[in-house]
């Protein structure tokens, strides 16, 4: 299992560093934006705008996690599928099911790590300048975007593992509709009561990849 983790790490290490740098760049840029407004108009302006106009000041980051999730799945699995080397991996003397989920779990952990670093950086700065209510308003809203990132990773992996294009198109349609659920409202904290179910759903859809792997193993072309 350690060897599989290491293999996955070798595949995505450069992308992982790029993803951390990019997402941190967006987080730090959002923080600088807030800081600039505070310097120009005072902290009161940020508070008032957040309370009265539902502004969260990190909207630039809205699609960053989902793009990161999509890219992670493509970088991790597309070359292996293209070179057909996944077939060799699945023929190793190790359960194909475990192999698949360890591969997915390693990508999931790396994504989670990236998001966690982002959250820590934002939480550190926002705790200084905003009341806890306003800080959680921002972080809660961002959590939905990060969940979309995790869901997109598992869904794109499901698409990439799928051997037949016809079925792949169906998977893409389902993926688009499922990902739309994460972006139904710009209202901060609108997802609060739905968030635990979204989190569970985002994890459960990892199991869809197993269906594609089974079809891939069986050599399905339709």
């Amino acid at each position: 299992m350690k060897a599989i983790f290491y293999k996955e790490w070798l595949k995505v290490r450069w992308y992982f560093i790029l993803a951390i740098a990019t997402s941190l760049g967006f987080s730090i840029f959002s923080i600088l934006r807030i800081n600039r407004v505070i310097e120009l108009k005072g902290a009161g302006h940020i508070w008032e705008v957040m309370i009265q106009r539902d502004v969260i000041f990190i909207d630039l980051m809205q699609f960053v996690p989902i793009i990161m999730g999509i890219c992670m799945a493509i970088v991790q699995f597309a070359p292996e599928m293209y070179h057909k080397s996944l077939k060799l991996t699945l023929h190793l003397p190790y359960s194909a099911l475990k192999m698949t989920f360890v591969m997915l779990f390693s990508g999931f952990l790396l994504l989670l790590g990236t998001f966690f670093i982002n959250m820590i950086v934002m939480n550190g700065y926002l705790s200084i300048v905003l009341a806890p209510e306003l800080k959680w308003q921002i972080l809660n809203t961002a959590t939905v975007w990060y969940l979309a990132g995790i869901a997109s990773y598992f869904l794109i992996a499901w698409i990439v593992f799928e051997p037949a294009w016809k079925r792949r198109l169906l998977n893409i349609g389902i993926t688009l509709l499922l990902l739309k659920i994460f972006f139904m409202s710009d209202m901060p904290q609108a997802y609060n009561s739905f968030l635990p179910y979204l989190a569970i759903g985002s994890i459960l859809i990892a199991s869809l990849s197993w269906l594609s792997i089974l079809r891939f193993k069986a050599g399905k072309q339709d």
Partner: protein, 341 residues
């Protein structure tokens, strides 16, 4: 695992079909109902309305009489005030009462509240303006307040720290006047784009209403005597230009009340208004209020005397919809995202 994955996939497909297929049908097949503009005319003692069609605008009263545009202005003199003044047609008296345009303007107000104003995520931080500022314009404060289970806390926005002194003074005054924490709900209108500030109306843990504002930096707290056998539920501060009302209130039976500046609560003679489910529009003038209450199935109008709050007339409409029920994640009634039918 294979079975689990298959079942999950079928569930997802079923879930998406329940969401998207009825939505597509409703999007393509359902026509929106066109409701014209309706107002009570105290001149005619009847509701009058404008309906727009391909042939143009039709102006009629409920009794069927048709009006020209000029006639329509004249039967709604408080609403078409500016047009009548511009044309030099503004009357000296309305219903036998001498009127001036400024006086009418002072008494006119529009109020609107939609369910999503209430059914929405709340931050729990509020601004309390100085209501007796020596300046002409209102000014936003440097702090905000939150209500905890046991007190009111003012937080200085610049330093992001609690102003203990102010918090203690306000908490002590609120408790002294009988307010029991935690506050269940409150309503205020913290903006500088208004003529005066009345602070907040609050419903305490014992369902009693309190008026809380800041005057010359000090707390102003008044207790309001609730009507007997009534449990108040929702509060809406009004701050209308005429200063004749302080707030609108509803109770657990969905009855509507007016809280006047002398802290008297008077019931408004309308059957029912549930702020969580109904849209309300009130167009008031110096004689009456036209209250429109819209639900999914009804669009009702009530003309109410603006002194006694008794019903003068009513006009009820049934609304029909040929849409089919659909799974959806958002609703016009709230600002939450969650699956619902």
């Amino acid at each position: 695992m294979t079975y689990f994955s298959k079942i999950l996939l079928y569930l997802i497909i079923g879930f998406l079909a329940m969401w998207q297929l009825p939505w597509c049908y409703n999007f393509l097949a359902v026509e929106g109902s066109k409701s014209g503009f309706t107002l009570y005319s105290s001149i005619l003692d009847d509701f009058v309305f404008i309906k727009h069609s391909d042939a143009g605008a039709v102006r009629k009263s409920l009794s069927g009489k048709e009006f020209t545009q000029n006639q329509f202005d004249s039967i709604l003199p408080t609403f078409y005030l500016r047009q009548l003044v511009t044309d030099g047609r503004f009357p000296d008296t309305i219903k036998g009462i001498p009127v001036e345009p400024k006086m009418v303007q002072q008494e006119n107000f529009n109020y609107r509240c939609v369910p999503s104003d209430i059914n929405r995520p709340k931050i729990g931080l509020y601004s309390l303006l100085e209501s007796m500022s020596k300046r002409v314009d209102l000014v936003m404060p440097d702090d905000v307040f939150r209500l905890t289970d046991s007190r009111i806390e003012f937080i200085d926005m610049k330093s992001n720290s609690i102003n203990e002194n102010k918090s203690q003074i306000f908490t002590a005054e609120m408790k002294k006047k009988g307010l029991v924490f935690p506050v269940k709900t409150l309503s205020g209108n913290p903006t500088t784009r208004k003529e005066y500030d009345e602070g907040y109306v609050m419903l305490d843990a014992n369902n009693n209403v309190f008026h809380v504002k800041m005057t010359v930096g000090r707390p102003f707290v008044r207790s309001v005597k609730s009507p007997k056998d009534v449990t108040l539920k929702h509060l809406f501060i009004t701050e209308f230009r005429n200063r004749k009302t302080l707030a609108l209130i509803t109770d657990t039976e969905n009855k509507l009340y007016v809280l006047s500046p002398n802290y008297k609560i008077t019931k408004v003679d309308i059957p029912s208004y549930d702020p969580k489910l109904n849209y309300i529009t009130i167009m008031g003038n110096m004689f009456d209020w036209t209250i429109r209450i819209t639900s999914k199935t009804e669009d009702n109008y009530y003309a109410i005397d603006n002194n006694t709050y008794q019903r003068i007339k009513e006009h009820k409409n049934k609304l029909s919809s040929n849409g089919i029920p659909t799974l959806s994640f958002t609703s016009s009634l709230d600002k939450f995202v969650k699956p619902r039918f």
